[in-house]
């Protein structure tokens, strides 16, 4: 039952750059196993290789090395038109000389279906995306959100084994983007289609995905659920890239025994649990999210001075300088906790169980 549906093994892509004939590694040693019906997002900064990976799965780029297996069949050499994947393009790529119906029906034309069947399936999918009865409209007259729905319907109507999304929401305004991502998630779950989604927007990735693949410079940094990625980042890149802003403190492992590790930060030793892979002498970075820090007038882990205050109503953002480092601190519900002012002396507190150590 839990047999992986889409397997990607050691996938790599190298390009020759156009001018110097230099080798550029776009994707390096990409491995993942995806279950049927799973929604996986490839997340990373631009140029991290996420789109190239997606285009290799779709068949638009040929891998330099590695294999893509769909249902235990290697599909590396199958051209996109014979491959059971469908893509929703960033530019939607709606055919401007066809109306909505013709756009959606296009893929079905190559599947030996009768006209009646095509019509039935197109109408059904148009109803699903909320465009029923609009089949005759030319696509040039649609709003961005409607174009997006047509693009989604056009891909889904073929009932592909894998649905691919290439930053499909990046051309929409902020409000519509939020509406559409809920819509996409609902439709995907209803149809139970395995989906791979490329984006650089972490909020989008968080709301949509079962699992997120964080990529950087062509390599996978971490694969995990949204919660794992946020709360237990495996690398400093992930810790830095995910979340609004993180505080990093560098320290050294001074003592380590079974189950507990002593780490020295700011000439003080803290005891952590559950980092058995660390060894004595390792340099580690402590990742402290701004909302994990509490400010108080009493004693804390360290003392600091408030250097900037931004009052946002539902929360207050501070910058506190302590031990020669600027900390971002986010305090929710300021009506209850009170507001500090610039120049105030404060103590910083955080729960060691919530913060996370990353080996540098």
């Amino acid at each position: 039952m839990n047999q992986p549906f889409l397997k990607i093994r050691n996938l790599s892509k190298e390009f020759l750059s156009e001018y110097q004939a230099e080798k550029v590694i776009a994707v390096n040693n990409f491995n993942i196993e995806i279950q049927k019906g799973e929604f996986v997002t490839l997340l990373g900064p631009s140029g991290c290789g996420k789109t190239t990976t997606l285009r290799m799965i779709g068949g638009f780029e040929t891998p330099t090395r590695g294999d893509i297996l769909l249902d235990d069949m290697i599909i590396n050499d199958i051209p996109p038109n014979k491959r059971d994947t469908c893509m929703v393009f960033q530019s939607y790529a709606l055919f401007p000389h066809m109306n909505i119906f013709e756009n959606v029906a296009f893929g079905l034309e190559f599947r030996n279906l009768t006209k009646g069947e095509i019509k039935k399936r197109v109408e059904k999918i148009l109803e699903l995306v909320g465009l029923s009865g609009m089949g005759n409209r030319p696509v040039s007259q649609l709003s961005g959100g409607q174009q997006q729905r047509v693009a989604l319907a056009r891909a889904m109507v073929n009932e592909p084994k894998v649905l691919l999304f290439d930053e499909p929401l990046s051309n929409l305004d902020a409000k519509l983007r939020i509406k559409m991502r809920i819509f996409i998630r609902r439709i995907q779950q209803e149809a139970n289609i395995t989906s791979i989604y490329v984006t650089h927007d972490q909020e989008e990735a968080m709301t949509l995905s079962d699992r997120i693949v964080v990529m950087n410079r062509g390599e996978i940094e971490q694969v995990g659920t949204p919660e794992e990625i946020y709360a237990r980042p495996r690398t400093t890149f992930v810790a830095d890239f995910i979340g609004k802003r993180s505080n990093f403190v560098t320290g050294k492992v001074v003592e380590y025994g079974p189950g507990t590790q002593e780490v020295e930060f700011w000439d003080r030793t803290f005891t952590f649990r559950g980092y058995d892979h660390l060894k004595k002498g390792d340099t580690v970075t402590m990742v402290i999210r701004p909302e994990m820090i509490e400010l108080s007038d009493q004693e804390g882990i360290c003392n600091g001075v408030v250097t900037m205050v931004t009052y946002l109503g539902s929360e207050v953002n501070y910058e506190v300088t302590a031990n020669g480092q600027v900390f971002a601190v986010e305090v929710a519900n300021p009506l209850k906790t009170g507001v500090y002012h610039k120049g105030d002396s404060v103590c910083l507190n955080f729960d060691l169980d919530n913060i996370y150590l990353v080996k540098s």
Binding site: T51, R55, G58, G59, F60, P79, P80, N81, K82, R83, T85, C86, M87, F89, Q90, S91, Y92, A93, L94, F95, P96, H97, F106, G107, E109, F110, R111, S140, Q147, R154, A155, N158, S170, N171
Partner: protein, 571 residues
């Protein structure tokens, strides 16, 4: 209803527009001067032709028109011209499309080479192909006589010859148009079709071809206009196959029949204007705007061996033909007497630079005066049309683009009719040639200028005005530097056109001021083909030098970099 309301609103705005203009006297003077020039040197000559052909005993009459069409010697060239135009357009568009498709969609080698070769006929004097045709397939032709020993006789004078040379000359236009159109189609569209299960053939049939249809129609109409207006090739090759452009000339110059010539000019003008209007106001609106997102990643190229090498072979064949034709002219320019004595010699060039020096000097001098003037005028018109509001703005744009549509023969006849008497007696002067050069080729400069200006955010100029600059200063300090690429493109185009012009200027040259192209035509008529070839090579060399110089200047000023930055900002 809505249109009327909009028109009323427009009328209401006029007084305030005029009042605003009076507050900027320099701008007002500029508009008045430009309008006056456009009227005198574009509208007035055309009016003179209409006047001459439609006036009957002092009254305006359309009777003449029906009389025109009832006479065989008028109808014959009309039919010939249209017939030739349609066939050249079909053939030229097909070849242009195949070439553009191969370069943009098929994984063929030597793309850059094909690209350069396909655009070369644009900068060469149009009648060079006709000359090469005679050198290759004429009575003493390289192929017909030297290789085939006159076993086969080629009928190059008449329809066949004209079809061949005009297709080879004007397919470039189709290539350039379709290259742009095919390149502009968002690669994601073809990717999407492929992704949805379409084969590469289906992608072509259902997506690429339908999206290129407006471009194909556009290319067809452009070639049709060019073929109608072609003068040099038919002068050399038409034989008994009379066509309008040359017939009008021969009627006026050979038979001293002004009225008859003007009538033929009108017959030539009508289909040209129709083709122009169809292209500009109908076909160009049908273009699909396909780029909606980021200009997405690389295009998947056809790499099936049959397609790949088939297309490669076709491209090779065509470029080989182009090389053969132009190569023959270079070869011909180095022989003693074509057809009789093929010893290599430099005599022809010595002759060109001694006896023919007057022609070269005049051509270079007049072109050098006309080119920058035309370039500047075009930019001023583009600026006025895009950025300023004044009554008659649309008319100014239309008139300046009109020269595109009017065949050179018609303009030439208009000029001799219009500028033959006091107070505008210009015949025989250098001025008439320069003016003709300027106003003949204004359209391209204006069009590129308009396109470039529309890309630049008006707030950049508004900022200058806001800081206290008047219209003239804003134009000089802000606008002109920003549209330099268009300005230089306009310069290059105008210079090429001046150097290769023949159809219109042939009416206004004189003993005192003469041009190389006319000399070439004369040499061909005297059967001195080697001489004509040498003159042609000299023209090409001068054009290449000038283009290189303009390019060099543009690079020197680093204009490209600056402008692309501006464009990125505007986007």
């Amino acid at each position: 209803m809505q249109k009327t309301r909009r028109f009323v609103a427009y009328l209401k705005r006029i007084p305030s527009d005029i009042r605003k203009l009076f507050r900027e006297p320099l701008l007002l003077t500029g508009i008045v001067l430009v309008s006056a020039f456009l009227f005198i040197f574009i509208v007035f000559p055309l009016f003179k032709i209409f006047h001459l052909s439609f006036e009957d005993d002092g009254r305006l009459s359309l009777r003449i028109f029906f009389e025109l069409l009832s006479k065989d010697y008028n109808v014959q060239p009309l039919i010939h011209s249209l017939h030739l135009g349609v066939f050249v357009s079909i053939l030229g568009t097909v070849i242009g499309f195949v070439f553009a498709y191969a370069v943009t969609r098929v994984d063929i080698p030597w793309k850059r080479f094909f690209n350069v070769t396909a655009t070369f006929p644009i900068i060469a004097p149009p009648f060079m192909m006709a000359l090469a045709m005679i050198l290759l397939f004429g009575k003493q032709g390289f192929v017909s006589s030297m290789i085939l020993n006159n076993v086969i006789r080629f009928e190059i004078y008449g329809f066949n010859g004209l079809l061949a040379v005009e297709t080879l000359t004007y397919f470039s236009t189709a290539y350039l148009t379709l290259y742009g159109v095919l390149q502009a189609i968002d690669p994601a569209l073809e990717d999407a079709a492929l992704d949805l299960g379409a084969s590469k053939w289906h992608v072509f049939k259902r997506i690429t071809l339908p999206l290129a249809v407006p471009g194909i129609a556009s290319a067809f109409l452009l070639i049709f206009s060019q073929s109608l207006a072609d003068f040099g090739n038919p002068m050399i090759l038409a034989g008994n196959y009379t066509i309008l452009a040359t017939q009008a000339y021969l009627t006026i110059v050979g038979m001293y029949d002004m009225k008859g010539g003007a009538a033929l000019a009108i017959l030539l003008l009508i289909p040209s204007i129709i083709a122009f209007c169809l292209q500009k106001y109908w076909v160009s609106r049908k273009f699909y705007i396909t780029v909606t997102g980021k200009p997405s990643s690389t295009r998947i190229k056809m790499d099936h061996p049959v397609t790949k090498y088939g297309m490669f072979a076709i491209c090779l064949l065509l470029t080989a033909a182009i090389f053969l034709f132009y190569g023959m002219i270079i070869f011909g320019s180095f022989v003693k007497l074509w057809g009789a004595n093929h010893t290599p010699t430099l005599d022809n060039y010595i002759h060109v630079f001694t006896v023919g020096w007057g022609y070269i000097k005049d051509t270079l001098l007049l072109s050098a005066i006309a080119t920058p003037t035309a370039g500047l005028l075009a930019m001023i018109i583009a600026f006025l049309v895009v950025r300023k509001n004044f009554p008659g703005k649309r008319l100014m744009e239309l008139v300046s683009l009109l020269t595109f549509a009017v065949p050179g023969t018609v303009v030439g006849i208009g000029y001799i009719l219009a500028f033959n008497e006091y107070p505008l007696k210009l015949t025989g002067t250098a001025a008439i040639i320069i003016l003709l050069f300027i106003f003949r080729d204004l359209a391209v400069g204006v069009q590129t200028g308009i396109a470039e200006l529309q890309q630049i955010d008006p707030s950049i100029e508004e900022a200058a005005t806001d800081l206290g600059a008047d219209s003239a200063t804003t134009f000089r300090r802000i606008t002109l530097p920003l549209i330099t690429p268009a300005f230089y493109a306009g310069l290059a185009f105008t210079f090429v056109k001046c150097m290769t012009a023949i159809s219109a200027v042939i009416f206004v040259v004189s003993g005192k001021w003469n041009l190389i192209t006319i000399a070439i035509l004369g040499s061909v008529e005297n059967s001195d083909l080697a001489q004509a070839a040498a003159f042609s090579v000299v023209i090409i060399v001068f054009i290449l030098l000038a283009l290189w110089l303009i390019n060099f200047l543009v690079n020197l000023m680093g204009v490209k970099k600056k402008i692309s930055f501006e464009k990125a900002e505007a986007l």
